[in-house]
C-alpha cells in the first residue's frame, strides 16, 4: 500500500512536470480555488493554453493519434491533471466539449464532420456545449420537449434548453430533441449537433443567487438543421445520450471553495475571552470531522487512480465525491460565518476575512448541491447503481411521452 508511481508513471510525471515548468508559472500555495470566472480575458488565455497543450501532446491524453491525441492512458491523464493543478493556468472551458460532446461526434458523425471539427476543438479553437436539460426536466433528463420536425432533408427545431454550461461562449453544441411524442419517454428522441450561431438560436445567461452566471437558457425558434447533423439513428437519441453521459462522471473535479485549512486559519485569528476560537472544543470536533471527510475523499480518489493505474475500471467509490463536498461546503461556510458572529454578515472582499471567501461559499453551495445532480439524485444513483437496490416505481415508463403526467 503506497502512493508511488510505477516507473512508467514516474517517467511520465517527470515529462509532464518538465513541460509544465517550461510553459507555465507555479501556483501560489495559499490560493483558494475560484468558483466562477469566465470573462473574455481568461477565455483568450484559456484558448492559448489549450493550443499549447495540444501542440505539446498534453490535451486529451487518452485520444488516439488519428484524432491528434498522444494515445496515452487514463492514468497519464490523471498524472498530468495533478501536475497541472500545481501551476497557475487559466480556467478550462473545454472539459464538457472535449469530454462529452466531441467524443459523441466522433462516435456518430460522418467522416467529413469529424475531419472538420475534432481538430479545432482539441486545439481550443472552437468550444462545444451540451444541450440536454429542459425547464420541465431537471433531474429527469429524458423529459425532453424541444421538438424537431422533419422537412425534406432538414429538421426544424423549436423549444428551450436550460442549465447549459458555457453556451454563451460556445461555437457548437449537441442537442437532444423529441422527434416522436407518441413513443414512450426514452424512445422518440434524436440527437443532433448544431452551430450555436445559427439563426433562431438565442442564449440567455441565468443570474444565480451567488451573483455569477455559469449557466444559460437556450431558445430555439425554427432552427433549421441538415439531416447530416444527426448523431445516431432517428428516435435513437437516448442511446446516443448515454454515450455522452457515460463520460460525465470523469468530469467531476476535486475540491472547490473554502476548506478545513481555511477555517482553521480563521479560527486562529478570532479572539475569545479564553484565547481564540481554535481552542473551542466544539469547533475542534467539527474541524476533525471536516478533515476526515476531505482527506477521506482524497484517499478515495487515490483508490480510483490505483484502479486506473492497474488498467482496471474504477469502482463505485468514485461516486461519493460531490454529495459530501457540496454539503460540507455549506456547513463549513456557515460555521465560519457564525464564528465571525455579527461581523459574519459582511460580504466585502476588503473587510471580510479571506477576501469574503466563506461568504462566497455560503452563496455558492446551494447551487453546488443541485447542479450536476441533486443530493437526492446522487443518493439514488449510489443506492441503485452501486448497491443494486431497485429503482423507484415509474409511472411514465410505458406510456406515450405526450400522455405522461406533467401537471400541465
Amino acid at each position: 500500500m503506497d502512493f508511488n508511481d510505477s516507473s512508467d508513471e514516474a517517467a511520465y510525471r517527470e515529462k509532464a512536470r518538465a513541460w509544465l515548468s517550461a510553459n507555465a508559472k507555479k501556483k501560489r500555495s495559499d490560493a483558494s480555488e475560484a468558483m466562477e470566472s469566465e470573462d473574455n480575458a481568461s477565455m483568450k488565455a484559456s484558448k492559448a493554453w489549450q493550443a499549447k497543450k495540444a501542440a505539446g501532446g498534453f490535451a486529451q491524453i487518452t485520444w488516439p493519434k488519428e484524432w491528434g491525441g498522444p494515445g496515452g492512458t487514463p492514468i497519464q491523464q490523471v498524472i498530468f491533471n495533478q501536475e497541472e493543478a500545481n501551476f497557475d493556468v487559466p480556467p478550462n472551458p473545454f472539459q464538457i466539449g472535449l469530454g462529452m460532446c466531441v467524443p459523441t461526434v466522433m462516435t456518430f458523425a460522418d467522416d467529413a464532420t469529424k475531419q472538420r471539427y475534432v481538430g479545432p476543438a482539441l486545439r481550443g479553437e472552437e468550444i462545444w456545449c451540451q444541450l440536454f436539460s429542459e425547464p420541465a426536466g431537471g433531474s429527469d433528463v429524458a423529459a425532453v420537449r424541444t421538438k424537431a420536425v422533419r422537412e425534406g432533408d432538414d429538421w426544424i427545431i423549436n423549444g428551450q434548453k436550460v442549465w447549459t454550461t458555457g453556451a454563451q461562449f460556445s461555437d457548437f453544441g449537441i442537442v437532444l430533441v423529441r422527434t416522436d411524442p407518441d413513443l414512450p419517454k426514452h424512445k422518440g428522441m434524436t440527437m443532433f449537433w448544431l452551430d450555436m450561431k445559427a439563426p433562431g438560436v438565442e442564449v440567455k445567461p441565468i443570474h444565480q443567487m451567488s451573483g455569477g452566471s455559469s449557466f444559460n437558457e437556450v431558445y430555439f425558434t425554427d432552427v433549421r438543421l441538415k439531416d447530416s447533423q444527426r448523431l445516431g439513428a432517428v428516435n435513437d437519441g437516448w442511446k446516443t445520450a448515454l454515450v455522452t453521459l457515460m463520460n460525465e462522471r470523469l468530469a467531476v473535479g476535486g475540491s472547490t471553495g473554502t476548506q478545513y485549512g481555511h477555517i482553521l486559519e480563521l479560527a486562529r485569528g478570532v479572539k475569545t475571552e479564553g484565547g481564540t476560537m481554535l481552542k473551542d472544543g466544539g469547533f475542534r470536533e467539527k474541524l476533525a470531522d471536516w478533515y476526515v471527510q476531505t482527506e477521506g475523499l482524497k484517499f478515495t480518489r487515490f483508490r480510483t487512480m490505483t484502479a486506473l493505474s492497474k488498467g482496471q475500471t474504477p469502482g463505485p467509490e468514485s461516486s461519493i465525491g460531490k454529495v459530501i463536498a457540496a454539503t460540507q461546503m455549506q456547513d463549513l461556510a456557515n460555521a465560519a460565518v457564525e464564528m465571525e458572529d455579527q461581523y459574519g454578515i459582511l460580504n466585502d472582499e476588503e473587510l471580510s476575512p479571506l477576501k469574503a471567501a466563506f461568504q462566497s461559499s455560503l452563496l455558492f453551495a446551494p447551487g453546488l448541491r443541485i447542479a450536476g445532480g441533486t443530493d437526492e439524485i446522487l443518493k439514488n444513483i449510489i443506492a441503485e447503481r452501486v448497491l443494486g437496490l431497485p429503482g423507484d416505481i415509474r409511472v411514465d415508463k410505458d406510456v406515450a411521452f405526450k400522455d405522461a403526467p406533467t401537471g400541465r
Binding site: H207, Q208, D341, Y343, L346, R394, D396
Partner: protein
C-alpha cells in the same frame, strides 16, 4: 393552560398578515435588494408607522399603543414571513427596548415618542470586528461625554438617526446615546449577505455621547437588551421558517419528475417533515420566550436563549432546504428562495451567533441545576 395567542392577538396577527401581503410583496423586497443606494423601503416604513406597530409595545404615555409585548411578537412573526426590508428590529426590538429597560423618564419621554411615530430610526452598535462581543472586545472609549472609536457592523447604521453604542468610560463598559447627525460621526455603507437590510461602519471622533443606564452596567445591559430582542427576532425567524416550508411544499406539489409530483417522493416528504418538526419546536420555544418577556420572568435569559437557538436553527434549515427542494430554479436570482436564505443568516447573526446563545443557555442551566 392558555399557551397560545389570545383571540384578540390572533385577530391582530391576521390583520397584519393581510396588510403585509398587500404592502410588502417580494417586489418591494427586491426593490431594496437590487438598489445599492436603498437601505430600506421608505413607503413600507411609513405605512408600518401609520399602523402604529413601531409603538405597539410602547406605553401610551410615551406615544405608543401600549398593546403589550405578545402583540409585538405577533407582528414580528408576520414581518418575518415577508422578509420586510425595514429597520424595524433595530428601532423597536433594540433601541426602544433598551430605552424602556434602562432609560430615565426623561430618556423615555424624549426618545420613545419619536420611535413610535416613525420620526426616528434607531440602531444598536456593539461589534467592532470578527468574533463575539466580549468585555475585552470593546475598544470604543467615552471621555468627558465624547465618544471615540469604531463600530462594525451596525445594522441600519446607514439610515438611523440615533444609536445606542457600547463603549468604555473610565475602563468600565456603558451604553451611550449618540446622535448620528453629530459632526463627529462618519458612516460607511457596507456590502452584506443580505442586501435587503442596511449595514454600516460607524466611526466616532469626539461625538457627543449620553449614558443610558449606570456606569459600568453596559455589558450586562447589552445582554438584557439582546435577551429581549432575541425573543422578537425568534418570532421573525419562525415566520420566515414557516413561509420557507410553505414555499417548498407548494413547489413540491406542482413540480413533476418522472411522471409524479416530487412531493410524492419520500426524500422530499421527509425533508419537509424535518422542516415542520424544527419549525414547531422553534414556535414552542418562541412562545415560552414571549411569555417570559411579557411577564418579565426570572427565566427570561434562559427562555430567550432557547427561543433564539431553536429559531435560528429552524430558519437556517428551512431556508436552505427550501432552495434544495426547488432544484435548479431554487438558486436563481429570480426565484425568491434566496431572499429567505439571506435573511436567515441576517437574523441569525444580528444579535450574535448561535455559539454565543448556546453558551448563555448552558450557563443559565448550570446556575439553575447548581441551585
Amino acid at each position: 393552560m392558555n399557551f397560545d395567542y389570545s383571540d384578540d392577538q390572533k385577530f391582530l396577527k391576521g390583520e397584519a398578515r393581510k396588510f403585509l401581503e398587500a404592502r410588502c410583496p417580494a417586489s418591494v423586497v427586491r426593490g431594496v435588494l437590487n438598489d445599492d443606494a436603498k437601505s430600506y423601503d421608505a413607503d413600507l416604513w411609513k405605512a408600518v408607522a401609520e399602523m402604529g406597530w413601531l409603538g405597539a409595545a410602547i406605553p401610551e404615555q410615551f406615544g405608543g399603543l401600549g398593546l403589550g409585548k405578545i402583540e409585538l411578537c405577533a407582528i414580528a412573526e408576520e414581518l418575518g414571513r415577508v422578509v420586510a426590508p425595514i429597520p424595524f428590529a433595530s428601532t423597536v426590538y433594540f433601541m426602544a427596548e433598551a430605552v424602556m429597560l434602562a432609560g430615565t423618564d426623561q430618556h423615555k419621554g424624549f426618545v420613545l415618542p419619536k420611535i413610535a411615530s416613525g420620526e426616528w430610526i434607531g440602531c444598536f452598535a456593539t461589534s467592532e470586528g470578527p468574533g463575539a462581543v466580549t468585555p475585552s472586545s470593546i475598544k470604543a472609549v467615552v471621555k468627558d461625554g465624547k465618544l471615540t472609536g469604531t463600530k462594525i457592523p451596525v445594522t441600519d447604521g446607514d439610515c438611523a438617526n440615533i444609536a445606542v453604542v457600547l463603549a468604555n468610560e473610565n475602563g468600565k463598559p456603558g451604553l451611550y446615546f449618540v446622535n448620528l447627525g453629530d459632526a463627529g460621526v462618519q458612516r460607511e455603507t457596507l456590502k452584506t449577505l443580505d442586501p435587503t437590510r442596511g449595514v454600516a461602519k460607524l466611526t466616532f471622533k469626539d461625538a457627543g455621547a449620553w449614558r443610558l443606564g449606570g456606569e459600568g452596567d453596559g455589558f450586562a445591559l447589552m445582554e438584557q437588551v439582546f435577551d429581549r430582542a432575541a425573543v422578537y427576532l425568534a418570532f421573525e425567524q419562525v415566520g420566515g421558517a414557516d413561509r420557507s416550508l410553505e414555499m417548498a411544499k407548494a413547489y413540491a406539489l406542482e413540480r413533476y419528475a418522472f411522471g409524479r409530483v416530487i412531493a410524492s417522493y419520500q426524500a422530499i416528504k421527509h425533508k419537509l417533515a424535518d422542516m415542520y418538526v424544527k419549525n414547531e419546536l422553534a414556535r414552542s420555544n418562541a412562545y415560552y420566550g414571549g411569555w417570559a418577556l411579557a411577564t418579565d420572568a426570572a427565566e427570561l435569559p434562559l427562555a430567550a436563549s432557547a427561543a433564539r437557538v431553536a429559531a435560528s436553527d429552524a430558519f437556517w434549515f428551512a431556508s436552505k432546504e427550501n432552495i434544495q427542494t426547488h432544484g435548479g430554479m431554487g438558486f436563481t436570482w429570480e426565484v425568491d428562495c434566496h431572499l429567505y436564505y439571506r435573511r436567515a443568516k441576517q437574523l441569525g447573526l444580528v444579535a450574535g451567533g448561535a455559539k454565543v446563545w448556546k453558551e448563555r443557555l448552558v450557563s443559565q442551566l448550570e446556575r439553575r441545576n447548581a441551585a
